[in-house]
């Protein structure tokens, strides 16, 4: 009897297997060819009857593509870094639940859950933010390499650094949010603005930052680790370091609702998590942190290991709900205060730097006071923390708001209106800061 059952099970397994192991799987991904190509080749080698169709799109374009094509879906998997991109798809019910049976994956990396608690997407690699620099550039400009975020606010880096905007790149958003949660809303923004005042540029693409550092266009960039590590792997004269305050976040994959090849899609997720799939992440052109702790035994010598080195990504208890609630507001605030008004911000801070340099160790109470006032003007926020966390107010920034009753308290208030107000506040403050700093300089 047992035998018959065993045969029966085997036949079913065989049948379902042979059914699953053929055909194709269509993956929309934001990952570059260097990464997706390696996985495609390895997967097709293991399952010769399945063809992997990779469609590369920027994360934002990928989301739009899946949203627009959902009525007639032809995509099996969405494969990208930013967890918030998956949150958007999940919110639109475009992801199907799947929990892989592969063993040995812990539940947390740093302090961030590897898999979606609701089971709609799974993490397959981890990444954290840090700073990368061009060694030739720093040497030519006589600059030290930075170690902590606060180093980036040092006037010596004025005009030498760069970052992407959080509205453009979900991973950059996490860095900003980490800073806000680590230092508190007001302190965090003040620090962010001091760092931003040194920016040469705020790039529109997240890859624009490693591109700029690799070319030597600017010296130091705030980037996600694999951009830095893979640039080192490709031979560029660059370095990379994690600061103490960073968040490790998983890069994810999820099955699309009504996937035409659902079985193959699940097979692909399983493959990513197996030891052979995880090892591909160590390739010098990829260099992402595996989520399977065992894989690190095969990593090169100074490869960071978050499962061993608890200093990486553990300093901040990342509050996912808080981040989610004010997601678009933080992006918009960053753009209004920094991206679009970078020139004004730089002018303000450079006037302050000048006054501070002239002040030196002199004991001039008037100048000191003026400089402190100027700095306070730069740091001032057009919105209070309470309002920024107010769920009602955040609805103004949400994508879907079909009915007036959804907005209730702030009905009739438009995002453009709010942004124009903020913009006026910020521009006035920056120019008043310049005036104060110049006054201070005169007083010296």
């Amino acid at each position: 009897m047992k035998k018959i059952l065993a045969i029966f099970v085997a036949v079913i397994l065989f049948a379902s297997n042979s059914f699953a192991n053929s055909g194709s799987v269509v993956i929309v991904t934001s990952f570059p060819k260097d990464l997706s190509g390696k996985f495609k080749a390895a997967f097709e080698k293991k399952y010769p009857d399945i063809t992997v169709e990779v469609v590369g799109k920027k994360t934002t374009a990928g989301i739009k593509y899946i949203q627009e094509t959902s009525s007639n879906n032809g995509t099996d998997l969405f494969w990208a870094s930013a967890p918030d991109a998956f949150e958007v798809l999940k919110g639109d019910s475009l992801l199907a639940k799947y929990t892989s049976q592969v063993k040995g994956i812990p539940s947390l990396v740093g302090s961030y859950p590897i898999n979606d608690p609701d089971g709609f997407y799974s993490g397959f690699a981890a990444a954290g933010y840090g700073m990368m620099w061009n060694t030739r550039y720093l040497k030519a400009n006589n600059l030290p390499s930075p170690k902590e975020w606060i180093d980036m606010a040092d006037p010596i880096y004025f005009g030498h650094t760069g970052m992407s905007a959080p509205s453009r790149s979900g991973t950059t958003h996490l860095t900003v949010e980490t800073l806000l949660q680590g230092d508190g809303f007001n302190q965090g923004w003040a620090k962010m603005k001091n760092i931003a005042a040194n920016f040469k540029t705020v790039t529109a693409r997240s890859f624009g930052v490693p591109d700029g550092v690799n070319s030597g266009d600017f010296g130091v960039g705030i980037v996600i680790d694999f951009f830095g590590l893979s640039s080192i792997g490709s031979g560029f004269p660059v370095g990379f370091v994690y600061p103490t305050v960073t968040t490790l976040v998983p890069a994810n994959i999820g099955v699309i609702t009504n996937a035409p090849n659902e079985k193959n899609a699940q097979l692909f997720i399983d493959f990513l998590l197996t030891p052979e799939g995880q090892e591909i992440l160590l390739d010098p052109k990829i260099r992402r942190l595996p989520v399977n702790p065992k894989t690190y035994s095969k990593a090169p010598k100074d490869f960071p290991n978050p499962f061993k080195d608890s200093s990486i990504g553990a300093a901040v208890k990342f509050d996912v709900l808080l981040s989610k609630g004010r997601y678009n507001l933080v992006n918009s605030l960053f753009d209004v205060m920094i991206t679009y008004r970078l020139d004004n911000l730089r002018a303000a801070m450079s006037a302050i730097y000048k006054a501070e340099e002239a002040l030196g160790s002199k004991n001039n109470a008037k100048a000191k006071k003026l400089i402190a006032e100027a700095r306070a003007l730069v740091s001032a926020l057009p919105i209070s923390e309470a309002k920024a966390n107010d769920a009602e107010f955040n609805k103004i920034f949400k994508k879907k708001r079909k009915k007036a009753k959804d907005i209730e308290k702030y009905a009739g208030t438009r995002q453009a209106e709010v942004e124009a107000e903020w913009d006026k506040f910020v521009v006035d403050n920056y120019s008043n800061a310049v005036k104060k700093a110049e006054e201070a300089l005169k007083a010296l």
Binding site: K33, G74, A204, S215, S234, F236, P237, Y340, A404, R414
Partner: protein, 560 residues
């Protein structure tokens, strides 16, 4: 007089084509800008636009940059065009084949090449800093945008101006001379006015293109202009700010207005000439010292405008190029990658040649209908077709997905929007304005008497097209074909939305996908170089054809 059924149905067909493949998809996206929070119709969003200091500043900046770019691009283009058309000058072939290349700036990798050359730590500034201890901010702020845009788009003026000058009826100049006009007066009264259609066509394209251009401001990280403001708002993650679409509508309206103003500038004057094919102005020989001067001007301008491509070539052969004047070492490895993926090159050739062909056919009929018939609504065709220039590629791409994804193809049951031919259509629609301006300019210079006399001798409309118009417009048609073809080879923003499998993807997409990694720079540049070579070869070939045509016609004239 033109009650021709054929023409009317053509007009309707073109109108339908533009309606389905341009107006409907755009409307699918843009109607958001007229909705309030409750989904009701409103103009409030436009009120917000004019209330925002940032948007007003962006509008002003875009306008300033576009106008200045027209001026700087004219400074590059006019000497080159004049030397070519006026003098027996061996440099002409060089100008006419190489002058095109700047239009072909492959996405992303072109930007990297530009920065490695002109950036604040690019080769030129590193040399300047070493030798003289100062740097020139070529690529900073609005002036940087003007500099890069002028280099990039001056060929629009060059091509159209050369075509225009070459179609000037020689007898006009000769009669003026025999009446005693010469020197600057001759230039001012005869050459300048007669070349106006071409110049205006080119200048208005430069203006529109720069006004709507997204790539360059993004590359230089200048955010306070309209196109980047629209893009940044439309493509933010998880948010759909209606202001992005409002800006889109404003871009379209401004572009249509610019076309209208260009039309006014030419309005009320007759630019047609009777004789054609006796081809162009009277050619002179240079005096020796003039020759050196001309060559040095030509070489200087060509070197300046082609320098990004020199950097691109270096990048494709270089190993590591970082904060140094030249790459550290050289290798052929990147091209190995390129040729292993030659399917992208094949796709680009196929898509772009079909798209450019569609463009010149449409452009020929549109300009004919606009300039030669009284069909009601003919100007609308022109404006609608031109407005394609102002639609951000991303918006059109989303519109296509929205409009065509729910239809399935009858033969394989796959969505219409995922069929490769839709990439061809979107390329054709986006590049139609280039072909259209070129056709318009040449047709404007052809006198209607030629057609009328043929007609009075009993010729059919088709015969007139075949025997008179097409041969006379050959230069313009080819110019249109080349501009559409070559700019389509590097189009990315719309196609990236439509590519549904890698095997259908064009070259620009390959560049994009390589340029997302540190190691992909070399192969990306390699693809860029291949794209430029394809276009250069195509341009050179069509030059040969045009010249052969002129010679032939010259011979026939003599025999007659």
């Amino acid at each position: 007089m033109f009650k021709n059924f054929f023409l009317k149905s053509t007009a309707i067909f073109i109108g339908l084509f533009l309606f389905i493949f341009l107006a409907v998809p755009i409307f699918q996206v843009f109607y958001v800008s007229f909705l309030d929070q409750n989904g009701h119709f409103t103009f409030l969003n436009f009120y917000d636009f004019f209330q925002s200091a940032l948007f007003i500043e962006s509008f002003y900046n875009s306008f300033y940059v576009a106008s200045m770019s027209v001026i700087l691009a004219s400074i590059f283009a006019i000497p080159l065009a004049y030397f070519t058309a006026r003098f027996n000058f061996r440099g002409s072939v060089l100008i006419q084949s190489l002058g095109f290349i700047p239009l072909i700036m492959p996405p992303f990798v072109g930007a990297v090449a530009m920065k490695l050359l002109f950036g604040s730590n690019g080769s030129i500034n590193l040399i300047l800093n070493d030798w003289f201890g100062f740097k020139i901010p070529f690529m900073e702020g609005l002036n940087g945008v003007i500099f890069v845009e002028s280099i990039h788009y001056f060929p629009f003026i060059l091509i159209n101006l050369i075509t225009s000058l070459n179609s000037i009826d020689r007898t006009m100049e000769e009669s003026a001379q025999s009446l005693g006009s010469k020197g600057f007066r001759l230039f001012r009264r005869i050459v300048l006015p007669l070349s106006m259609p071409g110049y205006i066509a080119g200048a208005s394209l430069v203006f529109l293109k720069v006004f709507d251009d997204l790539g360059t401001p993004l590359l230089l990280d200048v955010n306070t202009m309209l196109a980047p403001q629209a893009y940044l708002r439309i493509s933010s993650i998880g948010i759909n700010d209606p202001m992005g679409y409002v800006i889109g509508v404003i871009l379209v309206l401004t572009s249509v207005a610019a076309v209208y103003v260009a039309k006014l500038a030419l309005g009320g004057k007759d630019y047609s000439m009777l004789q054609k094919g006796g081809g162009g102005m009277i050619k002179r020989n240079f005096l020796p010292h003039q020759k050196y001067f001309a060559y040095s001007v030509v070489f200087f301008i060509l070197f300046l405008v082609l320098s990004p491509h020199i950097a691109l070539t270096l990048l494709s052969f270089g190993t590591i190029w970082s904060f140094s004047i030249l790459p550290d070492a050289y290798t052929f490895d990147h091209y190995k990658d390129v040729f292993e993926n030659s399917v992208f090159i094949k796709n680009t050739l196929l898509y772009c040649s079909i798209a450019a062909f569609i463009d010149i056919v449409l452009a020929f009929f549109i300009s004919y209908i606009v300039l030669r018939t009284k069909i009601i609504g003919r100007h609308l065709l022109d404006y609608v077709a031109m407005s394609a220039l102002a639609i951000p590629g991303l918006v059109l791409g989303i519109g296509y997905l929205r409009t065509f994804y729910s239809f399935n193809l009858p033969w394989n049951d796959k969505p219409l929007a995922s069929w490769w031919f839709m990439i061809v259509i979107i390329l054709a629609v986006r590049r139609l304005p280039y072909a259209l301006r070129a056709c318009n300019a040449v047709l404007m210079q052809i006198s209607t008497y030629l057609e009328e006399s043929a007609e009075s001798l009993g010729a059919q409309k088709t015969t007139i097209f075949r025997k008179i118009l097409i041969p006379l417009m050959m230069g313009g048609l080819l110019a249109g074909f080349i501009t559409s073809f070559s700019t389509a080879t590097v189009e990315l923003s719309a196609t990236i939305m439509l590519v549904s499998t890698e095997s259908d993807a064009p070259l620009a997409y390959a560049i994009y996908s390589y340029m997302q990694t540190a190691a992909g720079r070399g192969p990306g540049a390699g693809f860029g170089v291949i794209g430029v070579l394809i276009v250069a070869a195509g341009t050179y070939l069509s030059q040969l054809i045009i010249e052969k045509k002129y010679k032939q016609r010259g011979m026939e004239a003599k025999i007659d």
